[in-house]
């Protein structure tokens, strides 16, 4: 069931009712959450529920061994190795076996050698990419003594399978979630208000923005790249940026909102990424939970560890982002997309190091960096790089990337479909919302923000009512799929 669908509109009140009406004890609340999560997962992917349960129980058990200081170090390391290998093994098998066999086949064919590798099509269990990272993060945190292992299977399973986040994140950390699940949750009006607010904003971004833009501007052009005119291609690319942001940031807000209604706090996943003026800043604002995971568990240990990558910042950045690309999907377009971003981060690192050296010698370099022209150029470069990389993110294969690029340069003509006035208005609203949403986060908008925060309850209610009316009139029917749920 989709978080914006009718089934969820029936499911959520039932869960909230059971959750808050039962005696407020942690064990009961966790039991309700676990049952709800099992039901939620069952509704999506019943055939893979056992895999999820088995992996959860295995990780719970092995984490006890990892944390048990009475056991020899070798045994504890072995337990960690087995648990991480089991998680990665499942991810590799389900997500990459087809990709790897295809690649092997192509490699053999290129070398003129006969290949017995047959293409394998394995169905990806829903949420595997997300819960694998959540569980590995937990195991590593226990191993490094950052957290104590959970002593309750109920609590641990509730954390891993928590239904708002299991399909597409945010990728939560045990250190943040387990303490919340350990104590009974109390109904708090501020949190309820925040939850409802986040849920409505998420619905707006996913159910309206993303779902309007996609069929109107994006899909018709990407369906036949290069055929339409340059304007259609540029609009499709800009539209896709809005779509993917609305889709994923919207999903994250829906998950955060539902969690808040249950008295739990999930991490923020997006923080106005289109304000970024450098790629590192961009990745601190976009899919934050994935990137902090990659930096905390891969980049950090590799660069500061004792291995060959120690101190090799640029190379590690490229490597980590290539893996990030691969995590998004078993396709060469994603790998190249990741490599491009790793490269951008490495180049930025080099530039930053060089520039800082200049600044130490001559203060005029510091002044130049604070100049509006520098900020504008940095912003343009960052956003253009991200926008350009989205072609790889959206395209089915590298061939269509080339065709789309030629389309951007004006190879084709016209628009693939005529747009009526309503579509035009809604596309304008979608773009306008993204601009306002970002501008409101600027320091210059402080007064507007505080005015919004002090708005009387009645006016706030009228505003929310108006938003719901707008959604009822304009949000399209029947598009419940989330882009990031496919990863």
């Amino acid at each position: 069931m989709s978080l914006t669908g009718v089934a969820f509109a029936l499911f959520l009140p039932l869960v909230l009712g059971a959750y808050w009406l039962l005696p407020r004890r942690a064990v009961l609340q966790n039991a309700v959450l676990l049952l709800a999560s099992l039901g939620f997962y069952l509704s999506w992917s019943p055939e893979w529920l056992l895999l999820l349960i088995f992996g959860t129980v295995l990780d719970f058990g092995l984490a006890q061994v990892v944390a048990d200081e009475r056991r020899p170090t070798g045994v504890r390391r072995l337990a960690l190795g087995v648990a991480v290998a089991a998680n990665l093994g499942a991810l590799l098998w389900f997500k990459y076996v087809g990709f790897l066999t295809d690649a092997m086949h192509a490699l053999f064919a290129a070398a003129g050698l006969p290949s017995s590798a047959t293409a394998m099509a394995v169905v990806l269990p829903l949420g595997l990419s997300y819960y694998t990272l959540i569980r590995i993060g937990y195991l590593l945190d226990v191993h490094h003594r950052r957290i104590a292992p959970s002593r309750s299977l109920l609590e641990f399973a509730t954390f891993v399978m928590f239904f708002p986040q299991i399909i597409a994140g945010p990728i939560t950390r045990a250190g943040r979630m387990l303490p919340q699940l350990r104590d009974a949750r109390r109904l708090d009006p501020t949190r309820v208000a925040q939850g409802a607010n986040a849920f409505l904003l998420g619905w707006w971004m996913k159910g309206y923005l993303a779902d309007w833009i996609a069929p109107a501007l994006v899909e018709p052009v990407f369906a036949d790249p290069g055929a339409a005119g340059a304007a259609a291609h540029w609009l499709a690319l800009g539209g896709y940026a809005v779509q993917v942001f609305g889709d994923f940031a919207g999903y994250s807000l829906l998950a955060i909102g539902v969690a808040a209604l249950l008295g739990l706090e999930l991490p923020v996943n997006f923080d106005r990424p289109f304000l970024s003026r450098s790629m590192p800043e961009f990745w601190r604002r976009w899919h934050i939970s994935l990137n902090t995971w990659l930096f905390d568990y891969l980049y950090g240990p590799w660069v500061t560890g004792t291995g060959w990558l120690r101190g090799r910042i640029a190379l590690t950045l490229v490597l980590v982002f290539a893996l990030s690309g691969l995590w998004h999907g078993a396709r060469w377009t994603f790998v190249v997309w990741g490599l491009l971003h790793g490269l951008a981060l490495a180049v930025h690192h080099g530039w930053d190091t060089w520039y800082r050296a200049r600044c130490r010698v001559d203060r005029r370099w510091v002044t130049a960096r604070k100049h509006a022209a520098y900020a504008l150029a940095a912003w343009l470069l960052t956003q253009a790089w991200f926008l350009g990389s989205l072609i790889l993110f959206r395209a089915e294969d590298l061939g269509s990337v080339g065709r789309f690029l030629r389309g951007l340069l004006g190879q084709g003509t016209g628009f693939p479909a005529e747009m009526d006035a309503i579509t035009l208005v809604n596309c304008a609203v979608a773009f306008g919302f993204i601009v306002v949403h970002h501008l409101l986060a600027l320091p210059a908008a402080e007064r507007v923000r505080s005015l919004g925060a002090r708005t009387p309850a009645a006016l706030r209610g009228i505003f929310y009512g108006g938003v719901i009316v707008w959604l009822l009139v304009f949000a399209p029917l029947g598009r419940g799929t989330f882009i990031y749920a496919q990863f």
Partner: protein, 349 residues
């Protein structure tokens, strides 16, 4: 890098109280209700007869004629009013409209919804509904073309909760069975014009009509675009008519109804004159009529072809160029009961 712990919204808000929250909700609901009233005034939702309405009537009644078809079947609800008046209630038509249905969908409704009720018996083992003597299958060329997508209106308009639960148990929650839930959700909010307008755009059309009514030229241009689209669609139909699953469904329905002793008639539904080109009249339409006659003629089923012969003008059809408006249906009912459907008023020999 530390884990982000920014609040949900970057804007720091003062702590909310339950009272403030209640006021917010109250005003939000008030806004919704007010907007809904305005929507009612602009574009009141029309209640359309559905399979569910027919089932309710069947469960409490005893019709003499069963008429099943797509949304076009609603015409027979109007004919029912006329025939009841003319026969002093002796003849009663049960109109079963399966919205956006085709022959396979009608067969599903017949098999899973109608027959279990029609075959009910009393304590002595005698049929509880003994008056049913005739059946009319309402169809047109489109019904015999294969569905390009799953029959998503079947779960929406024809399933019961039992069918839904059985499907969920077998396949889990799917986009297909979600149509049932979506439709039930919409029916639950039948008092809301805003909910009923979802996906219809009647409200936006009404607003546009009030703010900037279309000029006569614009209306004429729209008429020409629409008719051209319809003409092409009907002409193209020649390449898809007669698909095996749909024709098999027609065959099965005729056999099933005849096996229950019913006199079966197939009606080829009238079309808006402007939407039919000479080419369509020479290809798709006669070819489809020929297919139907070949399929059901040998079984003794009469075929009434009103595609082009009903005395309807373009003005008798609605803005969708597909459905007959109420006045048109009333005119058609009067004409049909004096003409090709006169036999409905006669006792079956």
């Amino acid at each position: 890098m530390s884990h982000p712990s920014t609040p949900i919204d970057r804007v720091p808000r003062p702590a909310t109280t339950w009272r403030r929250l209640a006021v917010t909700v109250l005003f939000a609901v008030g806004t919704l209700v007010a907007a809904d009233r305005v929507a009612w005034w602009l574009a009141p939702p029309a209640h359309l007869r559905e399979v569910e309405d027919a089932m309710r009537e069947l469960e409490t009644g005893d019709p003499t004629v069963l008429a099943i078809g797509s949304s076009h079947g609603r015409t027979f609800a109007v004919i029912d009013d006329s025939i009841r008046a003319r026969s002093a209630g002796r003849e009663r038509i049960l109109a079963v409209p399966v919205e956006w249905g085709k022959l396979t969908a009608y067969a599903w409704v017949l098999r899973h919804r109608l027959l279990p009720v029609l075959d009910e018996t009393d304590a002595d083992g005698r049929p509880r509904r003994r008056s049913l003597r005739r059946a009319i299958i309402i169809t047109e060329w489109w019904d015999s073309c294969p569905y390009g997508s799953p029959l998503r209106n079947l779960p929406a308009r024809s399933w019961t909760w039992q069918h839904y639960i059985a499907d969920v148990r077998q396949h889990g929650l799917t986009a297909y069975n979600n149509n049932f839930l979506g439709y039930r959700w919409s029916r639950f909010w039948h008092g809301s014009a805003l909910v009923q307008d979802r996906g219809q755009r009647r409200l936006l059309t009404a607003v546009r009509q009030r703010l900037a009514p279309a000029s006569a030229e614009a209306q004429q241009a729209n008429f020409e675009v629409q008719t051209a689209m319809w003409r092409k669609m009907v002409e193209d139909g020649a390449s898809c008519i007669g698909s095996a699953p749909e024709m098999d469904a027609l065959d099965w329905m005729v056999d099933t109804l005849q096996a229950r002793g019913l006199e079966v008639t197939v009606l080829l539904y009238p079309r808006m004159p402007a939407t039919l080109s000479e080419r369509a009249k020479a290809t798709t339409l006669p070819q489809f009529a020929g297919l139907v006659r070949a399929a059901v003629g040998p079984k003794g089923v009469s075929v009434i072809d009103l595609t082009t012969s009903a005395p309807l003008t373009d003005a008798d059809f609605g803005a969708d160029f597909d459905h007959i408006v109420r006045a048109g249906n009333a005119r058609l009912a009067g004409w049909a009961l004096d003409g090709p459907f006169r036999f409905l008023l006669e006792s079956r020999p």
